[in-house]
C-alpha cells in the first residue's frame, strides 16, 4: 500500500495545461499545409506524389489554381519534399478542426472567401449549446486502423490529457451519449452497425468525424470495401482531420464544437 502512495506522490501532477497554455507540437510534426501561390510554377509534382489525391487542379472564376484538402491529407509530408520551388510548407499547427468541410480546403492563389454559414448550421449550434459544460461521447470504430482509437484512449485513460477535466466523458452505450465520435472510412461490414448506433443515440446528437479516414476515406478511399468518409452514411457536424489527430487536436476539436474556443 505504501509503495502505491509513494509512487503517486513522487509522480505528482502530470496533466497538461493545454489549451490554457499553448503547447506547440515538435518541429518535425506535420500539421497544417500552406501553399505559397507566388512560388508555385504549376509543375504538378505535389499532385503526382500525393498518395491520397489530396491535391487537385480546380478551375474557378476563369482561373486554374491548386487546391489541397486537409480532409484527405494523411500528413505524410511528401508534397513538401517533392516541391522543387519550396511553395509547399508543412507547419506544426495541429488545430485544424472545422464544422464546415470546405474550410479544410487550401486554395492557392484564390482569395479566400468566408464560407457562408447556412441557417441550418446556426440552428444546430444553438441546440448544441446545451452540451456546453457536459458532453457524453460514444466512440464508434467504423473500421479505423486503431490509431485514432488509441489517441482517444490516450485522452481518456491517460492522466496527461485527462479529457474529463473539460466535463467531457466517454460513455459505454450510444443510448447514453450526446455525441458520436466516429473513426474509419467506414467499411461495408460496419455500415449497418454505424447506422444502428446513430439511430440509438437520442436527439439532439452531434457527430464528429475523427481522422482522415472518417473525414474523406483517406488512403482507403475508392475501394469496394469502404465508403469515402462517414458523411456518406450519417450526417456529420464536426471534422477533425489528422492521421491520427494528436490528443491536443482532438481536445481542440471538442472545445471548438462546443463553442468554448473562438476560432
Amino acid at each position: 500500500m505504501f509503495t502505491k502512495f509513494q509512487k503517486s506522490f513522487q509522480t505528482g501532477v502530470v496533466t497538461s495545461r493545454y489549451p490554457k497554455e499553448k503547447e506547440p507540437a515538435p518541429l518535425r510534426f506535420r500539421g497544417r499545409i500552406e501553399i505559397d501561390h507566388e512560388k508555385c510554377r504549376h509543375c504538378n509534382a505535389c499532385v503526382e506524389v500525393c498518395p491520397t489525391n489530396a491535391y487537385t487542379w480546380v478551375e474557378e472564376k476563369g482561373k486554374r489554381y491548386l487546391q489541397m484538402s486537409h480532409a484527405k491529407c494523411i500528413f505524410c509530408g511528401m508534397c513538401e519534399e517533392a516541391c522543387p520551388f519550396k511553395a509547399v510548407t508543412i507547419t506544426n499547427d495541429f488545430e485544424l478542426t472545422t464544422k464546415n468541410k470546405d474550410n479544410l480546403l487550401v486554395k492557392a492563389g484564390l482569395d479566400e472567401t468566408a464560407s457562408v454559414e447556412d441557417l441550418g448550421t446556426k440552428l444546430k449550434e444553438e441546440i448544441f449549446s446545451v452540451f456546453r459544460r457536459s458532453l457524453h461521447v460514444r466512440e464508434v470504430d467504423a473500421g479505423s486502423c486503431n490509431g485514432c482509437e488509441w489517441e482517444v484512449a490516450a485522452l481518456y485513460n491517460s492522466p496527461v490529457h485527462d479529457l474529463q477535466r473539460f466535463g467531457i466523458d466517454i460513455v459505454a452505450s450510444p443510448r447514453h451519449a450526446d455525441c458520436l465520435l466516429v473513426t474509419g472510412p467506414p467499411t461495408r461490414n460496419l455500415e449497418a452497425a454505424l447506422i444502428k448506433t446513430y439511430h440509438s443515440t437520442p436527439d439532439p446528437k452531434m457527430v464528429i468525424a475523427l481522422g482522415a479516414c472518417a473525414c474523406s476515406g483517406g488512403i482507403f478511399s475508392n475501394c469496394y470495401a469502404t465508403k469515402n468518409g462517414i458523411d456518406n452514411v450519417v450526417p456529420v457536424d464536426v471534422y477533425i482531420p489528422g492521421c491520427p489527430p494528436r490528443p491536443q487536436a482532438i481536445i481542440y476539436g471538442f472545445l471548438l464544437a462546443l463553442k468554448r474556443i473562438k476560432k
Binding site: 509503495t3 502505491k4 509512487k7 503517486s8 509522480t11 502530470v14 507540437a25 515538435p26 518535425r28 510534426f29 506535420r30 506524389v49 498518395p51 491520397t52 494523411i74 505524410c76 509530408g77 511528401m78 460514444r138 466512440e139 470504430d141 467504423a142 473500421g143 479505423s144 486502423c145 486503431n146 490509431g147 485514432c148 482509437e149 488509441w150 489517441e151 482517444v152 484512449a153 490516450a154 485513460n157 491517460s158 492522466p159 496527461v160 490529457h161 466517454i170 459505454a172 450510444p174 472510412p185 467499411t187 461495408r188 461490414n189 460496419l190 455500415e191 449497418a192 452497425a193 448506433t197 488512403i219 482507403f220 475508392n222 475501394c223 469496394y224 470495401a225 469502404t226 492521421c243 494528436r246
Partner: protein
C-alpha cells in the same frame, strides 16, 4: 546458410523425385517447391513431420493473366534455421477447388477460408468452410482479389445472417457482445455460451474492419503504397512500413546503408516499447487495477511524445522510406532519447514492482486464460503469446533483418505457463531488452548516408518474402511485382491473424469478467487481421 539450403534441397529431391519441381529463388533463404494438387498433402505433411516446419502463411494469387491458373503458396518456416520452404500448387479456373490441409495442419484453417472468400477457390474437405472476411454480404461470384474485379466496384450489400455455434442444455445462456463495444476498442463480435459465470464456449466473428487493403496495394505505384502499408495498423505502423520497404528492397536487389539499418532497428524497438508499456497498463485495466492503468498510460504517453519528436508522428509514421530512413537522429536527439529511456526504465520498474507485489491482482492473472504449448504449436501462434506458452520463436533471432544480427539480446520464454501472468512477464522482460538494443544501436552506429536511391523501375514478375517481428509477433509479407512500378500482389500476414484462432482455446472454464483481461493480455489487432 548455403549448407542448410543444400540439405533441404537434397532431402526433398530424394524423397519426392519427380512429383515435385524445385526452383531456387534469387534469395538465399527461399526455396520454391512446385507440386500438383494430388501430392500437396504428402509434401506438406512431410515438411511438418520431418523438418518440424510450421505453416507461416498461405497466399492465394490470381495468375490467370500470366499462366492461366490461380496459384496457392504454402509458406513453411523451419524452426531455428533461416529457411523458408514455399510449396505452391496451380488451381485452374475450370475446377476452382483445392484439397484442404486443415485436418492435418490446423494452422491452415483461416487461410483456406480467406482464400475461398477472396478468390472463390473451394477448400475440399475443410471442416468449417464458412465465410470469414466478407461476412456473406457479397453477391455470388464476386471475389475481390480476382484480377477481373475492379477495386472501385460498388457492390450492393447482401442481407446475410451468419450462423454461430450453438451450445444447448440446461442453464446454458448466450451473451452477445459487439461489434460496437463499451470500451474504446476495435470492432468484433463475440458470442459466449456460459454456464453460470464460467464460459463454456466462445465464438468470435471478426473482419468488421475489412478495408480491401490488399486490393488497394495492387492499384498503387510502389512509392505511394508505402503510406498504405503504414496504415494497415495504427500501432504496428513502423513494423508494417519496415516489412514493405524490405520487400521492395529485396525485389530491387538493394542493400540499405548501415546507418539506416540501425535507425530502423531503433524505431522498431521504440514501437515495441510504447506498445508493451501501454499493454501492461491496459492489462491492469482489465483487472480493474486503475492505478497501474494510469501509470502505464502515463509512461506510454511519454514514449509517444518521444516518437513525435523523432518522426513527427506519435505512431512512428513517416520515418521509413524505401531504401533507408527519412530523418536522421543527431547527437542532441540521441542524448534526449537515451535520457528519456533511462527515466522510463526506472519508472517502469517501479510500476512493475507495484503490480507484482499486489496479491489480489496476481490472483486475477495467475492460471487465467491458459494456452497450452500443444495448441499454440498446432495453430501456429506467434509472438508474445507463443513465448508465454513456451515456444522459442522470434523473427529477430531466426530470420535477422535490419541490424538485429549486430546486436545482442535475449528472448524471454515461459514454459508450462501460458497464462495472463506469463504474457505480462514476457512484455516486461522485453521492455528491458528493447532498451538494451537501442543503447547498443547508438553505440555501434557510425555516421553515413541515410538512404540509397532506387533505380527508376523495380523489376517486374519477381517475388520475395519479407518478415518483421512487430510488438505482437511475426509479420510475414509476400510481394509479387508487376510492370510499371506496380505490385501484382502484396500479401500481409499479421501476427494477430495467427493468434486470434487461439483465443477461443484460452477462454473456456474462465469466468465471463475475465474475458477482457485475457483478450487484453493477447492484445491482438483487428485492423491487422481484417485488412
Amino acid at each position: 546458410m548455403k549448407e542448410h539450403r543444400q540439405f533441404y534441397l537434397d532431402e526433398l529431391t530424394d524423397r519426392f523425385k519427380d512429383t515435385i519441381n524445385i526452383t531456387k529463388s534469387f534469395l538465399e533463404n527461399e526455396i520454391y517447391i512446385s507440386t500438383k494438387k494430388e501430392n500437396l498433402l504428402d509434401v506438406c505433411v512431410y515438411l511438418r513431420e520431418t523438418f518440424h516446419a510450421g505453416l507461416s502463411a498461405m497466399i492465394g494469387n490470381d495468375e490467370r493473366s500470366l499462366n492461366g491458373n490461380f496459384r496457392i503458396y504454402y509458406v513453411f518456416s523451419v524452426p531455428h534455421a533461416d529457411i523458408f520452404l514455399i510449396v505452391h500448387i496451380p488451381v485452374s479456373e475450370d475446377h476452382p477447388e483445392f484439397p484442404s490441409v486443415t485436418t492435418k495442419i490446423p494452422a491452415a484453417h483461416w487461410y483456406e477460408r480467406e482464400i475461398k472468400d477472396m478468390f472463390g477457390l473451394e477448400p475440399i474437405g475443410h471442416p468449417d468452410p464458412g465465410t470469414l472476411v466478407l461476412h456473406g454480404n457479397m453477391p455470388e461470384n464476386t471475389y475481390p482479389l480476382r484480377k477481373d474485379f475492379d477495386v472501385n466496384t460498388r457492390v450492393p450489400l447482401q442481407e446475410s445472417r451468419l450462423p454461430f455455434f450453438k451450445v444447448e442444455g440446461e442453464g446454458v445462456f448466450e451473451i452477445p457482445v459487439g461489434p460496437i463495444h463499451a470500451g474504446i476498442i476495435e470492432p468484433g463480435h463475440f458470442r459466449f455460451s456460459a454456464v453460470g459465470d464460467s464460459i463454456y464456449y466462445l465464438d468470435a466473428k471478426l473482419f468488421y474492419t475489412h478495408k480491401g487493403t490488399e486490393k488497394l496495394f495492387e492499384t498503387m505505384p510502389y512509392t505511394k503504397a508505402l503510406f498504405l502499408a503504414e496504415r494497415i495498423c495504427g500501432v504496428c505502423a513502423a513494423s508494417h512500413a519496415t516489412g514493405y520497404c524490405q520487400a521492395i528492397e529485396k525485389v530491387a536487389g538493394v542493400e540499405i546503408p548501415p546507418r539506416a539499418k540501425f535507425i530502423r532497428t531503433i524505431v522498431l524497438e521504440l514501437e515495441r516499447l510504447y506498445n508493451h508499456i501501454g499493454d501492461v497498463g491496459n492489462i491492469c485495466a482489465g483487472a480493474a487495477f486503475l492505478l497501474g492503468n494510469a501509470h502505464g498510460f502515463r509512461i506510454r504517453e511519454r514514449m509517444q511524445q518521444l516518437n513525435e519528436t523523432i518522426c513527427g508522428n506519435r505512431y512512428l509514421r513517416g520515418m521509413l522510406t524505401i531504401g533507408g530512413v527519412r530523418f536522421d537522429i543527431n547527437n542532441d536527439l540521441k542524448q534526449h532519447i537515451l535520457a528519456t529511456l533511462s527515466e522510463v526504465k526506472k519508472d517502469f520498474k517501479e510500476l512493475t514492482k507495484i503490480i507484482f507485489a499486489s496479491s489480489s491482482l496476481l490472483d486475477r492473472f495467475e492460471t487465467t486464460g491458459r494456452l497450452s504449448t500443444e495448441i499454440a504449436k498446432e495453430l501456429g501462434v506467434v509472438g508474445v503469446a507463443a513465448r508465454a506458452s513456451g515456444i522459442a520463436t522470434d523473427t529477430r533471432l531466426i530470420h535477422p533483418y535490419a541490424a538485429y544480427d549486430k546486436v545482442d539480446f535475449d528472448i524471454p520464454i515461459f514454459h508450462y505457463e501460458g497464462d495472463v501472468l506469463a504474457r505480462i512477464r514476457v512484455r516486461v522482460d522485453e521492455v528491458y531488452q528493447s532498451i538494451y538494443i537501442i543503447e547498443q544501436c547508438f553505440d555501434k552506429m557510425a555516421p553515413g548516408p541515410l538512404k540509397i536511391p532506387l533505380e527508376k523501375e523495380i523489376p517486374p514478375y519477381r517475388h520475395a518474402l519479407s518478415y518483421v517481428e512487430s510488438p505482437r509477433g511475426e509479420n510475414i509479407y509476400w510481394i509479387a511485382t508487376a510492370p510499371d512500378n506496380r505490385l501484382f500482389r502484396y500479401k500481409v500476414r499479421s501476427p494477430s491473424f495467427c493468434n486470434w484462432p487461439a483465443i477461443p482455446f484460452a477462454i473456456p472454464d474462465n469466468i465471463v469478467p475475465d474475458f477482457p483481461l485475457i483478450n487484453k493480455s493477447f492484445e491482438l489487432c483487428y485492423s491487422c487481421t481484417d485488412l
